[in-house]
């Protein structure tokens, strides 16, 4: 009888602790086109190496990462990299105001209902995922740590892009 009581209590406690699973390296990333994102996604994502960056206008490190993402987009787009910024701002006005001061030279969309970000369950802001041509997560970055993260991005993107197309 005592054992049964324990099982019931343990089950209730476990139910309280249940959380959405975090997307990990090796998992297939949810299809961006079906995520109900506000804004225009790049037309061709299939077969491309995609860097998906979750950011918000109120997040300091996100602001620091923007020039690096601009640089990566400019440097590797001809070799097949697509950078997509996904804002999780509550309002479009907040995102637009941020982007007026901080120009992004890659596509920006907004996860207005915060469904995609909840689905991938990021553990910090910003979080970026580097996806291979099959749409699988190959690298994951929690936060942005300046030159260290930049160097990692470069190394990882280089490893995924076809060597034959190297400049």
């Amino acid at each position: 009888m005592l054992y049964r009581k324990f099982i019931i209590v343990a089950a209730l406690a476990a139910a309280l602790a249940v959380q959405a699973a975090e997307i990990k390296v090796g998992d297939t990333f949810p299809a961006l086109a079906q995520a109900g994102l506000e804004g225009e996604l790049p037309k061709e994502l299939k077969g491309k190496v995609v860097l998906v960056d979750f950011w918000a206008s109120w997040c300091g490190p996100c602001k620091q990462s923007l020039p690096v993402l601009n640089e990566l987009a400019g440097r590797y787009s001809s070799r097949g990299l697509v950078v997509v910024g996904v804002s999780v701002d509550d309002t479009k006005a907040a995102m637009d105001q941020f982007l007026k001061k901080n120009v992004a030279r890659f596509p920006m969309v907004r996860d207005a209902k915060q469904t995609l970000v909840a689905q991938v369950n990021v553990s910090s802001m910003p979080t970026s995922f580097i996806l291979d041509a099959e749409g699988k997560v190959r690298f994951l970055h929690n936060g942005f740590h300046g030159d260290k993260t930049r160097a990692q991005y470069v190394r990882e993107i280089e490893s995924l892009l076809p060597a034959s197309a190297a400049k």
């Binding site: 209730l12 406690a13 309280l16 918000a56 997040c59 553990s123 910090s124 802001m125």
Partner: protein, 70 residues
């Protein structure tokens, strides 16, 4: 009866106070209005009054002899 009480109380104890704010939901917390030092003039005035009343000028690293006259 005891079991029912246990079943009711344990989840309540585990569940209450657990307001997990997800990283993407921190916009409100990160807002300027949530900062403790959002009103520098107001802070300076209240600190002046506080130090004068307590004769504790310098207590927060500012120069002064405790007279409350700076």
């Amino acid at each position: 009866m005891k079991t029912c009480l246990l079943i009711l109380v344990v989840p309540l104890v585990l569940g209450t106070g657990c307001a997990a704010v997800k990283p993407w939901e921190r916009g409100t917390l990160a807002d300027y209005t949530m900062r403790a030092d959002r009103d520098p003039l107001g802070d300076a005035l209240s600190e002046h009054m506080y130090f004068s009343r307590e004769a504790a000028s310098g207590g927060r690293g500012v120069g002064g002899g405790g007279c409350g006259c700076n």
